[in-house]
């Protein structure tokens, strides 16, 4: 049982700027940032639900999203081509 993937490689996405309580695998520093889908990793049970001893189903599509460092950190020292890539579940992403 898995939710269908809404995004494809190359598409621009924004990470939701939300601060729910509990076990969340979306790092604080990337919330609100815009990046590009690098690849679709498959679907995995939602860790936020697993942490509550629930099934985590339907499984959530998981993406690797590429962000330009200069867009993540306004004070980033390094060339424009430096990036950070992070795994983010679909329910944290919206089209940008």
């Amino acid at each position: 049982m898995a939710a269908s993937a809404r995004f494809r490689p190359g598409e621009r996405v924004r990470v939701m700027k939300a601060y729910p309580l509990g076990h969340v695998r979306t790092p604080y520093y990337i919330r609100g940032c815009v990046g590009e889908i690098e690849r679709v990793c498959g679907a995995f049970p939602n860790p936020e639900e697993l942490a509550q001893m629930r099934s985590g189903l339907p499984a959530q599509p998981l993406y690797r999203v590429r962000f330009r460092q200069k867009e993540v950190w306004p004070d980033y020292r390094g060339p424009d081509s430096d990036v950070v890539e992070i795994e983010i579940y679909q329910h944290w992403l919206e089209a940008a």
Partner: protein, 195 residues
């Protein structure tokens, strides 16, 4: 914990581990033998496993292609089982240098690299590697030129990462076994070069 035999009070988490383990044994859920066997298995995993994968990729371009496409399957070809998790292998090139971090905890490809070094789990490495990777790499003695892009991989969920370093120059004709000896742990995390 060290094996030096010096007295040190248990930390909060050590105490929690001992308490939980003793309760599980007392209630008959696990046995001491099972715990020992699991610890022995963890200790048996060493970076030599990862080095074997890297050396094979250096000598066999078709294997390298399969490794980059599906790291888990390519490891299974060498008899290295990666249960449950997916392995993503990222390739260093003259244009891109890759490095691995887990900012949320300490996710690490233990099956291929064994127990992570303490610095990998430190708050300092975890917070700085995503924010100032060039400064952190320089502290490891690795200066990446500006024309080489740095790609930091934050291992936040179900994937695990392994860096495929570039094969060092001057190693033409070397055997796979000889090449594997060049591949150190840190080069597969992306904070050093092989050799």
């Amino acid at each position: 914990m060290s094996d030096e035999g010096k007295y040190r009070p248990l930390s909060y988490f050590q105490l929690m581990e001992v308490t939980l383990r003793e309760l599980l044994v007392e209630k008959g859920i696990i046995t001491d033998e099972q715990v020992d066997a699991e610890v022995a298995e963890m200790r048996a995993r060493t970076p030599e496993r990862g080095a074997k994968v890297v050396a094979r990729a250096w000598v066999d371009p078709a294997y390298k292609k399969r490794l980059l496409e599906n790291g888990t399957k390519a490891c299974e070809e060498l008899g290295l089982e990666i249960p449950a998790l997916k392995l993503v292998v990222v390739e260093n090139t003259p244009e891109v240098h890759n490095a691995i971090v887990c900012t949320l905890c300490s996710c690490y490809p233990r099956v291929l690299l064994g127990i992570p070094p303490d610095w990998y789990k430190s708050r300092s490495y975890r917070s700085r590697m995503v924010h100032e990777p060039r400064a952190v790499l320089a502290e490891f003695g690795l200066r990446i030129p500006e024309q080489v892009a740095i790609r930091v991989h934050d291992s936040t969920a179900d994937m695990r990462y392994l860096v495929l370093p570039m094969r060092p120059p001057g190693t033409d004709g070397w055997s796979e076994e000889r090449l594997a000896k060049l591949v150190n742990r840190d080069s597969m995390i992306g904070v050093a070069l092989p050799g």
